[in-house]
Amino acid sequence: MTEEDQPGDDLAGLVGRAIEGDQAAWNTIVDRFAGRVWAVCRAYRLNQADGYDVFQQTWLRALENLESLRDPARFGAWIGTTCRHEALATLRRSKRYHLVGDSGLLDRTADPGDDPEQPLLVAARNAELWQAFRRLSRRCQQVLRVLVADADEGRPSYELAAAALGIPIGSLGPTRGRCLARLREYLTEGIAESSGAS
């Protein structure tokens, strides 16, 4: 669980080739992590414009620091941390210097009336799941959103998620389990309610 989700050599190799100027290697890195970086932007409830800015800024910071990464194999944790810093800084600025600590931002409960991350295209078969997900605590939504955002290999990105959310990696597994159990409850309730109403 403390291993990066991709073989470290492979990632370190890609970073090394990108440093040497290999655009294709850089593209592979972007494609592999884009979904996760976007998920982090969404986990911090950035609106679309801020989300776009933080996403771009995160990649530019990655390029800028590529050569000074101490451990290229842990690029996932590094980019998770970077995205978190940029997202929190953007949230602070949008509050016009009204500072809120990390924990304050993370622990805000979901406000159903003001949700910038509402996907527009929830297919019918996913609507129940989306409704149940929306009822979860903010922390559960964050953890699940970032953990399920995967490249095609489909394995959870624990290092990136822990770094991106600023929580200990050891607590991710238990938190995920608890959140999934809660989600299952809400799903069952939702299905029972909708079948009772019809």
Binding site: Q23, A34, Y52, H85
Partner: protein
């Protein structure tokens, strides 16, 4: 992970992949930003940000005398320390937010003949402005979002400021 958790996780992954994937145009910009790598320039770090967004433990300074109806002003200071000569280059910039545009008023220390290029990933060509004899420069009509300044001085290596969200 138990089978139920695995199924639910896969369903969630499906949901977000279908409903809220990383925007294609942003992914494309991230790929293309590879061309914005600066290979032969020194990096000036953001050492002070009045909005408290700097990387280090920097004291946050409230904007003094800010007019609530005027443009939002933010002070950024970038610094490059040349280990060989012991000299510092300081780029101080005031960012004014004017609706969907940003205006920079800056000052370069030490003074001397120089020009500045402003790069933004969404803008194909860098904007170039001259620095006047007193080290001052102005850039209007920038977009909100990431930006980096490149300082070109006669007889000195180029210095780029670290990417910063305007």
């Amino acid at each position: 992970m138990n089978p139920d958790d695995a199924r639910l996780t896969a369903w969630l992954a499906d949901l977000f992949r279908a409903a809220d994937p990383a925007p294609g145009e942003m992914v494309e910009l991230a790929r293309r930003s590879f061309a914005l790598r600066t290979l032969d320039a020194e990096l000036a770090a953001l050492v002070e940000d009045s909005a408290g967004a700097g990387a280090g433990p920097i004291p946050v300074r409230e904007p003094s005398g800010a007019d609530p109806d005027g443009p939002q002003l933010r002070q950024l200071t970038f610094q490059f320390h040349d280990d060989r000569t012991g000299d510092d280059l300081i780029v101080a910039v005031e960012v004014a937010a004017l609706g969907e545009r940003r205006r920079l008023t800056g000052h370069l220390t030490p003074q001397g003949p120089a020009h500045i290029e402003v790069r933004q990933p969404a803008v194909p060509r860098a904007r170039r402005v001259d620095v006047d004899r007193l080290g001052r420069f102005h850039v209007d009509d920038l977009l909100p979002g990431p930006a980096s300044l490149t300082c070109h001085r006669t007889g000195a290596p180029a210095v780029v400021t670290e990417w910063t969200l305007l």
